[in-house]
């Protein structure tokens, strides 16, 4: 079964800076996930389409180290 990596976000330390969104070379991310940063309403990054190529550019770019690349398998 072919394994591919995709970003997994830990929003606790995320500051919604969108550095990861811009770093993505294929436009797979956007700041669209509603949530809270402390008590402030905010939007956080998430995968918004199936374009992710697992390149890890988002994870490498994140200053707050909120993104881990995790393996996913076909059919998941």
């Amino acid at each position: 079964m072919a394994a591919k990596k995709e970003p997994h976000f830990s929003y606790r330390n995320c500051v919604s800076c969108s550095i990861c969104v811009q770093a993505c070379p294929v436009g797979a991310l956007d700041l669209t996930r509603p949530g809270k940063s402390g008590r402030y309403r905010n939007f956080f990054p998430e995968l918004v389409n199936d374009r992710c190529i697992g390149c890890s550019m988002c994870a490498k770019s994140c200053p707050m180290e909120c993104i881990n690349m995790t393996a996913v398998f076909d059919g998941e």
């Binding site: 919604s16 800076c17 969108s18 294929v26 940063s37 008590r39 402030y40 309403r41 905010n42 707050m64």
Partner: protein, 658 residues
């Protein structure tokens, strides 16, 4: 410079061609990128006497030297050109996401020359640049244009788009350039220059990696800053007390150096609207077209009308510019405003709130939210438009302008319905509005009331009163793009602690406010330090609010060294700031803009002084302070022209040969 691409894109709109130019590394060493790169390029390439709305003018979109390196708060992009508003150097600065998009196309800046025969837009991605027909978008407002352009170019990565609205298309001299649904590079009439070139938009969809010498070191600095900011919060409901704080500040005979972290706390909670009630009661914000103290306009009531908690109540979510952990922006739900055809708007900045609220003695916050959206969509500068509307109201109240001339509008203090209608006319250049669409200087030349026309060298001043902060008065005049409020203030200097990175910058002290009025060498060094640090931030694409956090919270010097692979100290970087400022002033001299002829309006100098309030009796010694500022820069203290030995010492002659 390892944090820059080393290339610029040049677009000739007359010929319909594009080309790429490599920039020598020495240029980045000398002026960084952003406004510095723009100043170098425009000084060299715009011929003296060029018509600002003609083909010889060049319009540049510049990213910052730190944009895309992982450095927080470096997502500002700067638009540069010869200003049609002042006839001299022009620039405007904006947040959003566009700065990183320039670099992801593989360039540090994009420069447009010439004039297209028909409306066009530039599309650029990893494969290259292409000039495309924009006839189908011409006439649409900035938000609608941006949405449609994004839809029509959605095959690859979501594009970032800079666009003009109707104000820029109509060549309004107070128009700007928008991105992200209405964030606007507003000053200097840059929108009119874009409109004159028939350039509707710049659409960028590149995805190239952005360079950085030591990304791990940069990320470590950002992580430290991000963690601090993430822990900041202010208990709910305290916004109503800000006006009272302003009363205390206004009454105090002493100027207090503020801690830089205060900026972060206030702006994280409320954004810049946190300043409005404070400005109304402390003397910082101009009232009734710069003519009144707080008591004359029921200041405490006005302060409560603009309590930022009211804005937080309708905030749907925070808005963050690229690389910003603070999020001083926000998206507001304005569907409750019955006469609004729009449901949402960007949170207005303090400048807009003050300009259409207290400056016009308008107590209706909702009307200002609506006007904010009108201006953002049209792409019109709210500072310039607000000063112009306030002038019109004062002229009307004093019988200088009649109801017939205003097309029937009852321009009275606080009549927000008339304000809205006048704005609509200004945006569409209809009737009386047509005469106001080019700013207050030109309007007063036609109708009179010059004593009520607040402009500095043709540009309307930002919403901070020079009588409250004489340091600001120096910069409003001495700044090569006059009237700007973002170059330096006393309160900002106190927060920045520049003496800890710069050997010649004086320490900020607790001192009597009256000392700030004197034309001393100490005050001149403070104003020079303010201007140099501000230019440094414009070179790196840094945000003004990062600057205001101070050197201990926002470690700009460490950031630049890590991103560029350099190891310079603060003095070196302050000299870069002085070099950028000197080139901008040389641009003015080259184009016949005489700095010594630029004066603050008498009212802004306290001539005559206000009779009530915190600024009662204050009169500036602005001419003497400006002369001392020029001298500190190594410019002629009488003319403001950079002296040959200063130009030589800064190595500018050599740069211009490259």
């Amino acid at each position: 410079m390892k944090s820059c691409t080393g290339k610029i894109l040049k677009v000739d709109l007359t010929a319909g061609t594009t080309s790429v130019e490599k920039i020598p590394d020495e240029i980045y060493e000398a002026v960084l990128s952003g406004k510095g790169l723009g100043a170098w390029y425009l000084y060299k390439n715009i011929p003296a006497g060029a018509d600002p709305l003609g083909p010889e003018n060049i319009l540049g979109f510049c990213s910052g030297a730190l944009t895309g390196t992982g450095a927080f708060m470096t997502g500002r992009w700067t638009v540069v050109c010869k200003s049609p508003l002042t006839g001299g150097w022009g620039d405007a600065n904006c947040g959003g996401v566009f700065s990183s998009a320039i670099k992801q196309c593989g360039y540090d800046a994009i420069f447009f020359s010439g004039i297209s025969e028909k409306p066009v837009y530039l599309y650029c991605d990893n494969k290259g640049a292409e000039i495309r027909d924009a006839s189908g978008y011409w006439g649409l407002d900035a938000v609608e244009s941006e949405n449609r352009l994004r839809e029509d170019n959605s095959r690859g990565k979501k594009p970032c788009i800079a666009v003009i609205g109707q104000a820029g298309e109509n060549l309004s001299l107070i128009s700007g350039i928008c991105n992200e649904g209405g964030r606007i590079a507003a000053r200097s009439g840059v929108g009119a220059v874009m409109g004159s070139k028939k350039l509707k938009a710049v659409v960028l969809a590149g995805s190239k990696p952005m360079p950085c010498a030591d990304p791990d070191a940069v990320k470590a600095l950002s992580k430290e800053l991000g963690r601090k900011i993430n822990k900041m919060w202010i208990p709910k409901g305290l916004g109503g007390g800000i006006g009272l704080m302003g009363v205390g500040m206004g009454k105090s005979p002493l100027a207090l150096p503020m801690d830089g972290s205060m900026t972060a706390y206030l702006f994280r909670e409320w954004g810049t609207p946190s300043n409005t009630p404070l400005a109304v009661t402390s003397g910082d914000g101009p009232l009734k077209n710069w003519s009144a103290g707080p008591n004359e306009v029921h200041g405490m009531r006005l302060a409560m009308d603009y309590n930022p908690e009211k804005i937080n109540k309708i905030e749907e979510a925070k808005y963050h510019c690229y690389s910003c952990p603070l999020g001083c922006g926000g998206r507001l739900d304005i569907s409750g405003i019955d006469y609004s055809e729009y449901y949402e708007t960007h949170k207005p900045e303090y400048e807009t709130l003050q300009a259409f609220g207290p400056l016009c003695v308008n107590r209706d916050l909702r009307s200002v939210l609506y006007m904010n959206e009108l201006l953002n969509r049209a792409g019109m500068d709210s500072i310039s438009a607000g000063n112009t509307v306030a002038w019109a109201i004062e002229c009307y109240e004093n019988g200088i302008i009649t109801k017939e001339q205003t097309d029937g509008l009852e321009l009275k203090w606080g009549n927000y319905e008339a304000e809205i209608e006048l704005l609509r006319k200004m945006i569409s250049r209809e009737g009386f509005g047509n005469d106001l669409a080019d700013g207050v200087k030109r309007a007063a030349e036609k109708y009179g009331g010059k004593e009520y026309a607040m402009h500095v060298g043709g540009q309307e001043p930002g919403m901070h009163d020079t009588r409250n902060d004489p340091q600001l008065g120096i910069h409003m005049v001495a700044e090569p793009a006059p009237g700007k409020h973002t170059i330096g203030m006393s309160i900002q200097y106190g927060a920045m602690s520049l003496c800890d990175i710069c050997s010649w910058a004086p320490p900020a002290t607790l001192h009597p406010k009256s000392e700030d009025l004197e034309p001393t060498e100490n005050i001149a060094l403070i104003s020079k330090a303010n201007a140099c640090y501000s230019m440094l931030f414009d070179g790196i694409g840094g945000c003004y609010y990062a600057e205001m956090m101070g050197v201990h919270m926002y470690k700009a010097i460490e950031y630049i060294n890590a991103a560029a692979g350099w190891n310079y100290d603060g003095d070196h970087y302050m000299e870069i700031g002085a070099r950028i400022q000197t080139i901008r002033q040389m641009f003015n001299v080259k184009h016949g803009y005489e700095p010594s002829k630029v004066k603050l309006p008498k009212r802004m100098q306290g001539m005559p002084p206000l009779k009530t309030g915190p600024l009662k009796g204050v009169t500036l010694k602005n001419d003497e302070q400006v002369a001392a500022h020029w001298k500190a820069f190594g410019w002629d203290e009488k003319t403001g022209h950079p002296l040959p030995e200063t130009v030589e010492m800064l190595g500018i002659n050599r740069l211009m040969e490259m």
